[in-house]
Symmetry: C2
Subunit: 382 residues, 2 copies
């Protein structure tokens, strides 16, 4: 179930079985000059990525799974098989079953095969590191980059506490000042284009109070900087004081201009809850600033689990009040089911429930995830 079925180089697409790992896929097609740009955690397989509608550090530039899947083969609850699309790059042929399955978390069918779009591999890569005094300064740079017409390769943000976790973890060979830090990737079909982007970003950063601006196209240094970005989650796990400590995090996304309010508001909510608990929680923020998706993390003793989960629900509500979403890329699962109704309303929940019941009346596919079927009694009848 992890085979590459067919690479269509000319059309820049590939047919794969659901079990293939995305990094293995990219390794296998490397010689073609193409790649699949969605980059979640290293262990993810395409089937899981489809089901979670995942994204990652490349989503600001390239979009999420919703933009990179052309068609799916799905086994339904009754064992019948549906192939949602072939290989055309767009289609208006009936309801979009492909996108209905993407992000359904396996509750509507089991994905067995996918046709994926591919992109030319980025060229002339340059990696940058920019330090600010305040999160708002970094966000302001991002908003201006977006208005410029240039599209960078990646725009990631970590706050001072996150940089502290990275330092203390010693997972990076670099040591960082513990201030809000932008991780940036530039690329383009020619060096000129990349240089133009760098000059523009440099000027914006200077105008917005950046205290450090480093760019490099030196292979080792680029690897070291980006490895630091990719070490953020393991670094947080290393902040556990006891084996039994919990690592919990949010996955909210908001309109980008609202990110400073989300990050500040989240800090206040968590600090208040932490003070009440009185057990010295650690809290940090890192995320995909280019698409407004932030992960606020809490490390706390196991006994504070319920309190930490409760405050993360408050964080999700804060995101909703800022016109955002409770989950940008991780999905609903079991934990966010009760907040989902606050995002889509009772009517939205009822629509999802009707769809679920129409395709899986006995509730055998990933039962209990996304929504609770037993709630339906409370809904109005059509």
């Amino acid at each position: 179930m992890n085979a590459l079925v067919k690479l269509n180089e000319d059309d820049q697409d590939v047919v794969v079985q659901a079990g293939i790992n995305w990094m293995d896929l990219n390794q296998k097609i490397k010689a073609s000059g193409l790649w699949f740009p969605v980059d979640p955690a290293p262990g993810a397989s395409i089937g899981g990525m489809v089901s979670m509608s995942c994204s990652g550090t490349n989503a600001y530039r390239y979009g999420t799974m919703k933009e990179w899947v052309l068609g799916l083969t799905v086994v339904l609850a009754d064992g019948r098989v549906v192939k949602t699309r072939r290989r055309a790059r767009k289609s208006s042929a009936g309801f979009d079953l492909t996108r209905l399955m993407i992000g359904a978390e396996g509750t509507l069918g089991v994905v067995t095969e996918a046709v994926l779009r591919l992109a030319p591999q980025p060229r002339n890569l340059v990696v940058g590191l920019v330090r600010f005094e305040r999160v708002g300064q970094a966000v302001d740079v991002v908003l201006r980059v977006m208005r410029s017409g240039y599209k960078l390769e990646a725009l990631e943000l970590a706050d001072g506490e996150q940089m502290r976790a990275l330092n203390e973890s010693e997972l990076s060979e670099m040591r960082f000042e513990e201030k809000p830090t932008l991780f940036v990737k530039f690329a383009g079909p020619s060096k000129w284009v990349v240089q133009e982007q760098i000059e523009m970003v440099k000027e914006l950063c200077r105008a917005n109070g950046a205290t450090k601006f480093e760019v490099t196209d030196e292979e080792d240094r680029m690897g070291t900087i980006w490895a630091a970005r990719k070490s953020m989650a393991p670094a947080l796990i290393k902040m556990k004081k006891r084996e039994t400590d919990l690592f919990l995090h949010s996955d909210c996304a908001v309109p980008i201009s609202k990110l400073p309010k989300l990050i500040e508001g989240t800090r206040e909510l968590i600090e208040r809850a932490a003070a009440k608990a009185g057990n010295g929680w650690f809290c940090a923020n890192v995320g995909h600033v280019g698409d407004g998706n932030m992960h606020s993390s809490i490390i706390c003793p196991a006994e504070d689990g319920a309190k930490a989960e409760a405050v993360l629900k408050e964080v999700a509500r804060l995101a909703l009040s800022l016109d955002g979403t409770i989950t940008g890329e991780h999905g609903v699962g079991l934990e966010l089911r009760d907040v989902l109704v606050e995002e889509v309303g009772e009517v939205g929940m009822d629509v999802m429930r009707r769809i679920k019941k129409s395709l899986d009346p006995r509730g055998i596919l990933n039962p209990g995830k996304v929504l609770r079927l037993e709630d339906e009694g409370t809904q109005a009848k059509l």
Copy 2:
């Protein structure tokens, strides 16, 4: 129902009522430096564009409605209202009701409001016109452009017959050689970037046997060339010999490498049918070569209507045999219902029918479009 509700410049999104015309919308937000890049026929409103999952000449560069709608407000069959999303740029919060409604042709709900993404207006626009001897040469250039990492603004293709219709219509002040012709738009945040693209495309065209390559950044000339592209449908209508003649067309999309086969095969199918009918049909091809979407048109006497419709269904089947779709942007409506099953299979039809029945059990929303509810008796039971 055609108001601009709120423009959020910083976040590059806008909330609009469904009745707003896309050109009016772009006029209203012009001063912000932003635009909504999906460009169907001039009369289209956002609500209709959502329901058809439309695209147009900008879709190769920017994507279709599926990529530009962040959220929808929809009235359901029972009068309840669902708001699918707020303004975050991505979300994994439950089933993707936004995309389910996009392209549902009004059969699942009535769209009343939409949150749309906006893009920075293209800058340093240059328009180009390239002539080839054969369609395959033009397609080869397009495939190579796609591999280059450069993304042009638009890539449109008309065959020799289409250029003949344009000449005979006298809708353009220009006269064209009646050969396959690429209409190209270049743009970018700086003149350097645009110049690089032009040089690359020029070199590719020369290497692929182009017999004419013109580019211009002169406002009037750009307008004239692009107006010629936009006059293709009216030019075809002027090819009617009698008031009662029919103008019918396909809307297939295939993987781009298959376009020459689609165009050649379509020509053969139509020529054979036209010869049989013996009434001198006119046939031409024009479309969005950048995303593989072609419109093959037939002008024929009214009495040949059934024959022309039959051959266009054969064209749709040809597209399916080339791994394509029966409709890239125009939707299923009434005409393609019986071919849709050949694209998504009986199981796909059954899934769509179940969703339709779960949300509109009495079938009151745009009845009969996309699928026939009465077919359900032939389906297996879950």
